[in-house]
Amino acid sequence: MTKMLTDARSIRIKGRSFLAVVLAPDLPFDDWLIRLDDLAARSAGFFLGRPVVLDVTDLPIDRAQLKDLITELAGRNVNIMGIEGGRPSILGPGMPPALKGGRPVSDEAVAKEPIIELRNGEPKPVTPEVRSALQSIVIREPVRSGQSVIFPEGDVTIIGSVASGAEIIAGGSVHIYGTLRGRAMAGSLGNASARIFCRKLEAELVAIDGIYKMAEDMAPGLRGQSVQLWLEGDSIIAEKLI
């Protein structure tokens, strides 16, 4: 018997990565839980609403012990979303799924995650100060055909021309003190305020924050001119520089 499809629309499946806190308990669990309670008392709500992964790599425990630990943690409002490094024999139904292929991140990144503090019984979100130092690179020679400069961390300045068939991809703005004949993409990681500046516009393609414009869509009066380009709403605006 064939199942009838109820709806022609497809189901969206996407990949996405999230930052999770990894807890690596050690034996005996009772002592470890006391230390965890100490930590929780100092910074209340540290685990509240955060995805937590339990790392049990190399721990000589059985299924029952793991189940007890998960229950203990659930009682402390620590919700385990996955288990890393667990042997298949200790995992079972009703337990969080096994996770593989995790990559470490800096401790700073974990600390930057919003932490909710409990004060006077009232949860009050604290906005974290995410201000990474602005970075920029300067390239002192022409960018040749087939070369690409990729700098997601900030601004790119080229002292020289960008050849036809070359590309510049910057997280911030792109400054070209020469002719732009290739492609320039500014705000590549999602920065609508990034701009593109060039001394002479002959570009094949320009893009800001994922919105692009081909050579033939550009006003012919701008060819060969000193130009800056920026984003207004969903369209790229270009203007001659004096």
Partner: protein, 271 residues
């Protein structure tokens, strides 16, 4: 120690082989010891332009594979005592060109010759990158049209990243040789102008070789144009380019530009 020059372009048919032969013969006429090396394995042509196609016994691949000694493979030119050719193999596969083998051959040639001129194959594959790998200097051959200019630009990028010099953090000396230049067509706008090419590639100009029947005629009789007809316009341009390679400072003349009063006098005398 001799100087290793790679003659390269990216695009095919722009005049790499012709320029290799012409520059080689021009330098050899200054009594300097010159070897021209064909790297175009499988599509060799330098032996034809040098008029040595019937004298090839061993080739570059034989030397690299250890089947022949370098002295057995080198062919001395019949007209110039100091000019030699190391031919490429026409039958073997270009995969036989190994990085170690090329390094050994180039090192050995450098010890004996003042100039080692490597004729690169077209493209950006292993043949071309091996030909440029050990160069001290590059001659980028370009025609005044957009596809050739873009390919040259690509090659310049490779010269700055894939060569031994670049890997040691040194700067590769690059020179532009503009070939098949037709002043009338450039004037009409059918061809890129000299200043446009220079603006795009931004490397120093070694010379401008005019489009001429003399080049084709010389190739057909198996002689570098600087030997076949030393008084012809392309030969003169190649002689000047060779002098600049050797370090002389000469003003560059654009072929077909209106000559000064001296030019007129000389033109009348020659007529």
């Amino acid at each position: 120690m001799g100087k290793v020059i790679v003659v390269t372009s990216g695009k095919g048919g722009v005049g790499k082989t012709t320029s290799t032969a012409a520059l080689g013969a021009a330098l050899a006429q200054r009594n300097e010891r010159v070897v021209v090396v064909d790297f175009d394995v499988g599509l060799r042509n330098l032996d034809l332009v040098m008029g040595a196609e019937r004298r090839v016994v061993y080739d570059l691949i034989n030397v690299i594979q250890g089947e022949a000694k370098l002295t057995q493979a080198l062919i001395r030119d019949k007209r110039l005592e100091t000019l030699y050719l190391l031919p490429a193999s026409q039958t073997r596969d270009k995969d036989n060109l190994t990085p170690e083998g090329v390094e050994r051959v180039i090192t050995e040639l450098k010890r004996v010759f003042d100039w080692v001129i490597c004729d690169s194959p077209a493209g950006i594959e292993s043949g071309a990158t091996l030909a440029m790998r050990h160069a001290d200097m590059a001659v980028v051959v370009t025609n005044p049209e957009v596809s050739s200019v873009r390919d040259s630009d690509r090659i310049i990028g490779l010269l700055d990243s894939k060569t031994m010099k670049a890997e040691r953090g040194e700067r590769m000396e690059k020179h532009l040789l503009l070939t098949r230049y037709d002043a009338n067509r450039a004037e009409r706008g059918d061809m890129l102008k000299v200043e446009d090419v220079l603006e795009i590639l931004s490397i120093p100009l070694l010379g401008i070789i005019p489009e001429s029947m003399d080049v084709l005629r010389a190739s057909n009789i198996g002689s570098p144009v600087t030997l076949a007809d030393a008084r012809s316009a392309p030969a003169m341009a190649y002689f000047d380019a060779a002098r600049r390679l050797a370090g002389e400072v000469l003003p560059i003349t654009i072929p077909g530009e209106k000559r000064g009063i001296f030019g007129k006098i000389f033109a009348r005398r020659a007529a």
